[in-house]
């Protein structure tokens, strides 16, 4: 008996909602041939429902649907029409904002108010931003010799594969879909098997908006099976991946042994927030608190190391803990005043608690938090380690939870060196009132984003992506379009006889 697509799910407040659970291929919900996978509510540790997963033949079906659609249909659709469809999709997301936010909160554990006001809102803005680019992707004409006409075209790649993580389900999908569609590609996206529900609701809106069948295909499954089939598929021209550095390496390897598909990797980080002696300490404490504890610390760009000038360390720490207490209310995702929900899964929960033990063993001091919260759901207290130095594992390895490590520095040069002493290079921040310090630090720290007197501030217009082993390629902004197009140069030689 094949599990029907629509399943009824009960929320903690007693409300019932209907969710899609089958694979979305060629504008239809179809059963998968992979195993049914249970998706867990991290606030209750209970199964929400099971979803279909994709095996090799399903991945083939999805990729073929995308390839056929690209060749026969999507590449012939006028750019302004593509823009119109993307705007229509955004309209529908606006209409169903609460439902989308509910699914993000239910499957991921983030607070409903955060899902609604940040994740879904920013996702809608992302689609609208890239819709505006659809008819503005320009090549150039390039003067060479008088007898030639040379020009470039920025063409779509064709079929794009995307593998997204569980930390911002709807938003991570938006960051991949929006530029890919605007640039004219068809997509097969594998969502995380931990948070499969939001994207299937989104899929229904894609069909309602009127996208031709095969433009958007959404499947789920395990990374080492479904993800691997997608990553090695010969008809996929590019893989866009957000997730761990370890998996990023696998995707790169699989590209090298399959069809050399183009890659974009957005991986982990251990971003440093530098608090200078002349910073507005209260503001720095407030921003840096959000910088680590937003999304329960489950952000690749989390400011998980804080480097504080020794002269202001104690004062800063006091303010930081004050803001942590005031800001971080832990609770059920569907409570109006919850800031922090549970961590995503049992596995992550145990990993984070283990890092807390490692930190203690290494000699770091728990100045706040340090343990589980409550006794049901994967909740962990916001945790502050002090007395850290940059050789500790908790200073070097990505914990991906609400754990911040704080170290002192004597000089700006030292702070810059510590910030750069990492294999990662995703983001960073500096808090200072001095113009020269701000420019020097932002110039010297080797990361893809540097925030000054703020942290974790995003906009659809500004690019995001890492240096070093935090990955390569940019999401958001005009820069993202480069990732989803390929350049062809055409050179026409004129006959000298004419």
């Amino acid at each position: 008996m094949v599990q029907p697509d629509l399943q009824t799910v009960r929320l903690s407040n007693g409300k019932e909602i209907t969710v899609h659970t089958q694979l979305f291929i060629n504008n239809e919900f179809v059963p998968g041939h992979g195993p049914l996978i249970e998706t867990i509510n991290p606030a209750t540790e209970e199964v929400i429902c099971s979803v279909h997963s994709a095996d090799k033949q399903d991945v083939d079906a999805a990729v073929n649907a995308a390839a056929t659609c690209f060749k026969d249909t999507w590449r012939k659709v006028a750019p302004a029409e593509k823009a119109r469809l993307i705007h229509k999709l955004a309209d529908l997301m606006e209409r169903d904002r609460d439902e989308l936010a509910t699914l993000d909160a239910l499957d991921n554990g983030k607070a409903f108010t955060v899902a609604r006001d940040v994740d879904i809102t920013d996702s809608i803005a992302c689609y609208r931003y890239f819709a505006g680019w659809a008819d503005k992707i320009h090549g150039k004409t390039i003067d060479t010799t008088f007898d030639k006409l040379c020009y470039t075209r920025h063409e779509a790649l064709g079929v794009v594969g995307a593998v997204i993580p569980w930390n911002y389900p709807t938003m991570m999908a938006a960051w991949k879909f929006a530029p890919a569609l605007a640039a004219g590609n068809c997509i097969v996206m594998k969502t995380s098997e931990i948070t499969p529900l939001p994207a299937y609701k989104f899929a229904a809106l894609v069909k309602e908006a009127g996208f031709p069948a095969g433009v958007v295909n959404i499947i789920t499954g395990y990374g080492h099976t479904t993800g691997s089939f997608l990553g090695s598929h010969p008809l996929v021209s590019k893989m866009a991946f957000t997730g761990s550095t370890a998996t990023g390496r696998k995707i790169m390897e699989s590209s090298s042994s399959s069809n050399l598909k183009k890659l974009q990797l957005e991986l982990g980080g251990k971003s440093a927030q530098i608090v200078c002696a002349d910073a507005d300490l209260d503001k720095a404490a407030e921003w840096s608190c959000g910088g680590i504890f937003n999304n329960h610390g489950q952000s690749c760009n989390a400011g998980s190391r804080i480097l504080v000038h020794e002269s202001v360390h104690d004062q800063f720490l006091e303010l930081f803990i004050k803001h942590t207490k005031a800001m971080i209310k832990i609770g059920d995702p569907f409570d109006e005043d919850t800031f922090q929900g549970p961590q995503i899964s049992k596995g992550q929960f145990e990993k984070i608690l283990n890092y807390i033990e490692i930190g203690k063993k290494e000699g770091a001091i728990v100045s706040y938090g340090g343990k589980r919260w409550g006794n049901k759901g994967y909740y962990i207290e916001p945790t502050v380690f002090t007395n850290c130095h940059n050789q500790m594992r908790v200073m070097r390895e990505e914990i991906f939870g609400p754990v911040v490590v704080i170290a002192k520095f004597k000089t700006i040069e030292e702070a810059i060196d510590i910030a750069n002493d990492s294999d990662y290079g995703l983001a960073g921040g500096v808090y200072t009132t001095d113009l020269d310090t701000a420019i020097t630090v932002t110039n010297e720290v080797k990361t893809g984003t540097m925030w000054v007197n703020c942290f974790d501030v995003f906009d659809q217009s500004t690019p995001f992506g890492g240096y070093k082993q935090s990955g390569f390629g940019k999401e958001l902004g005009k820069y993202a379009l480069q990732e989803y197009t390929q350049v062809k140069v055409v050179k026409i030689l004129r006959s000298s006889k004419i």
């Binding site: 505006g132 008819d135 503005k136 020269d436 420019i439 659809q460």
Partner: protein, 493 residues
């Protein structure tokens, strides 16, 4: 307060409610006097509208100035985009009202307007709405400095638009200006004020703050002059005749050096080679290129150079196609060509036809008025036209085409370029080298190869030589409405 609301009934019975005041600061207000707007198909008055002179222009500019510094300059680009998209949606909603007004006021066939005008307006608004949050400066690496540029809005932008495609011209002046954070005062042609007044209602309904978009009408020498000379207007964009373009440039020079863009006339050539795949197809494009909109387009293909090998066939087929197209009532479903816009224009075109005959050209087809009511002129073909004849050199702005024979490619290119204009040109050939060579050689802002008249919000449009200054449409238009500030921070000089 006096109401300027009136109801207009179109010849097919469709009724449109319209506010005929000057649209200033989101209100419809009185003008210095009124102007009657005529239906050129009948010669009868449609309605009268409020008209601006210097005093009302001052009010409009003040409103725009206040709105600019009162928040529009620093507004959230995405809010600007949202308002622009909302206006586009409303134009789509009220498309039937708008095309009825446009067809009555301008004389273009209703079916034409329905096909082109709301779609074109919406496309333009949507295109530039998408640019609002994509206005990038650069960071430029130099030693010892952080140097970057910012592209800022200019301020109050004036627009003076013509009567030949009123809705489209309004979109071209509003969209890029508002997108980049400017406020606008647009003076419509006193011959075709109506569709813009309906759009003004929609501007308010969309939620634009008062003063951001102001729409007025009035005579050129009064309202247009006041706008061009105003010290608080930072930029003027004009589409119309060369003569008025000169006056506007002069006015800017004599006052505050406001930035000027001009989109003026043309005498655009099409070169038709004997290797074309289908003469019928070329005839279709060339015919559209001159007789569409009764020849009232700045970029109309008014000179045709046909290679001798296909000349006779071409002329014969061109004549046949021309005769098959109906000239008459804009509201009849099978009308291709409506009347000329006004009695003045009508007389002007008839005068050129007269001059053509007097100078010895052959009037191969047409050349006469049609009927006695409305300003209808037969589609007219002249042949045997010398290179120095008046009708070969001057812009007629009516349904009059000149067809010449050519043999040699370099010679015809020279003839095509022998004009003070340079707005557009057509090239018809199946040979790729020829297409590239001729496109490179022609001195015009738009070259259409194997077709004529395609346009979109994304492709720039504007003239070489005395056809104008600057480009509208596309990313190019943004530079007309922004000014560049370079900021250089010392970090180690």
């Amino acid at each position: 307060m006096t109401s300027f609301i009136t109801e207009i009934t179109a010849p097919d019975g469709h009724k449109v409610s319209l506010n005929t005041g000057l649209f200033i600061n989101n209100e419809f207000v009185a003008g210095a006097h009124t102007i009657d707007t005529i239906n050129p198909a009948t010669g009868e008055v449609i309605t009268s509208v409020q008209a601006a002179e210097a005093e009302q222009v001052n009010l409009a500019v003040d409103a725009a100035h206040k709105a600019f510094y009162g928040g529009w300059k620093t507004s959230n680009p995405r809010e600007r985009a949202r308002l622009m998209r909302k206006l586009a949606d409303l134009v789509e909603r009220d498309a039937e009202d708008l095309v009825h007004l446009e067809s009555m006021d301008n004389g273009k066939p209703l079916s034409n307007s329905r096909m082109m005008d709301p779609v074109g307006f919406v496309e333009h608004l949507q295109y530039y709405a998408g640019f609002c949050d994509k206005l990038h400066g650069k960071v430029i690496e130099t030693k010892g400095k952080l140097s970057y540029t910012v592209h800022e809005p200019i301020g109050v932008c004036g627009g003076i638009i013509p009567w030949n495609v009123p809705m489209m011209m309004l979109a071209w002046k509003i969209a890029p200006a508002v997108c980049t954070g400017n406020t606008v005062v647009v003076k419509t042609s006193e011959l075709t004020p109506l569709s813009a007044l309906k759009i003004a209602e929609l501007v308010k309904e969309a939620g634009f703050p008062p003063g951001v978009i102001n729409i007025i009408t009035g005579y050129g020498p009064k309202a247009g002059e006041a706008l061009s000379r105003h010290m608080k207007v930072s930029k003027i964009a004009f589409t119309g005749s060369l003569a008025t373009g000169r006056a506007i440039m002069k006015a800017a020079a004599e006052t505050n050096l406001k930035k000027v863009t001009l989109e003026l006339g043309g005498k655009s050539p099409s070169i038709i080679f004997d290797d074309v795949e289908s003469v019928d197809e070329v005839v279709f494009w060339a015919h559209m290129g001159i007789f569409f909109n009764a020849g009232q387009a700045c970029c109309a293909g008014t000179r045709l150079y046909v290679q001798e090998g296909i000349y006779d066939t071409f002329v014969e087929k061109f004549k046949a196609l021309t005769l098959s197209k109906k000239v008459g009532d804009p509201f009849a479903a099978d009308t291709f060509q409506g009347p000329q816009i006004s009695e003045t224009q009508f007389k002007r075109v008839m005068n050129y036809i007269d001059i053509g005959k007097k100078e010895g050209a052959t009037c191969y087809l047409g050349g006469e008025r049609i009927g006695s009511q409305g300003y209808f002129i037969e589609p007219t073909i002249f042949t045997d036209v010398g290179a120095d004849m008046t009708i070969m050199k001057e812009e007629i702005f009516g349904p009059v085409v000149v067809i010449s024979k050519f043999k040699d490619i370099d010679d015809v290119i020279a003839k095509a370029n022998d004009t003070t204009y340079g707005l557009a040109a057509g090239v018809f050939t199946s040979n790729i080298s020829r297409a590239v060579k001729v496109s490179n050689a022609l001195e015009a802002g738009t070259i259409w190869v194997n077709h004529y008249y395609s346009a979109s919000a994304a492709e720039p449009f504007g003239g070489y030589k005395q056809s104008g200054i600057g480009r509208e449409c596309g990313e190019y238009a943004l530079s007309n409405y922004t000014q560049v500030k370079a900021v250089k921070i010392n970090i180690g000089l």
